[in-house]
Symmetry: C2
Subunit: 136 residues, 2 copies
DNA sequence: GTAGCTGCAAACTCTTTGCAACTCT
DNA sequence: AGAGTTGCAAAGAGTTTGCAGCTAC
């Protein structure tokens, strides 16, 4: 039983065939798939699956915090398994998403919020860039 | 002639009654209005205006960089006149948007991108928080 | 057995667009 | 005069939902 399946069971979700497939797709994805992506990949494993189920399942997983929903400036959502906290840099030329972490940044955002009189609950930081051509 | 109107003229846009009204709404807004908000406020000044025109005008202004489009995690867009660069903290309890600037942060994000091998073109940073109760 | 889950299709929200009429410049 | 702009209604994209049947527990 996969880690994700286990967490779903703990949350009291029934482990249906469709869910197992969706969890497998999410667990093995090395990118940040859109709903459509998850749907396509799930269909390869179980062609009867419907996109409504994918939407419903992803929403559920998001509520359970097993998954993180992103809305990069594309007009639709992308998902990833909720692993370690990190941020994203989107390559404007290829659409590729690079993950990064930065301790200084983590501290800074908490400080900024506190200075404004707020307790930081959530945040969003995305960088959009183009690959540097010359390294030298 | 308002500053925004002037810039529109420079860009070669025709100054129609509808546009004048929309620019006025944007110029006098002290918040971050949604398309619907702009439409409602514009209708008070010219009841014949259509929401399609509001959408079209805001898109144009966005392309000209006279306005900045934001998509806080709400499922629709909000706009503000493109003034000084700043970021936003959204009050999760009231929806109020607080603006802030931070030099350290500006430098840090450029550095992060460069370290990843990227030239930073754009970015998005939003904080979501709740007001601190006790100040002491 | 039954609460929860599913597929299907219809509905919804936000946004864009084709078109014919109109209006700045 | 003519290119650009508008209102309207229809169309689009992404997402949600009502319902009847199905399934894990």
């Amino acid at each position: 039983m996969s880690d994700l399946e286990e967490k779903c069971a703990e949350a009291g979700l029934k482990m249906t065939g469709q869910r197992r497939v969706i969890l497998k797709v999410l667990g093995t994805a090395s990118d940040h798939p859109s709903v459509e992506d998850v749907y396509e990949r799930a269909k390869d494993l179980d062609s009867s699956i419907s996109i409504a189920t994918v939407y419903r399942t992803l929403s559920l997983l998001d509520e359970l915090d097993l998954v993180v929903r992103h809305e990069f400036q594309e007009g639709y959502s992308r998902y990833e398994v909720n692993d370690e906290h990190h941020h994203h840099l989107v390559d404007l030329e290829t659409g590729k998403v690079v993950e990064f972490q930065n301790q200084e940044l983590e501290a800074l955002k908490v400080k900024i919020a506190r200075d404004l009189g707020y307790d930081l609950i959530d945040h969003r930081l995305e960088l959009y860039g183009k690959k540097l051509k010359k390294k030298k």
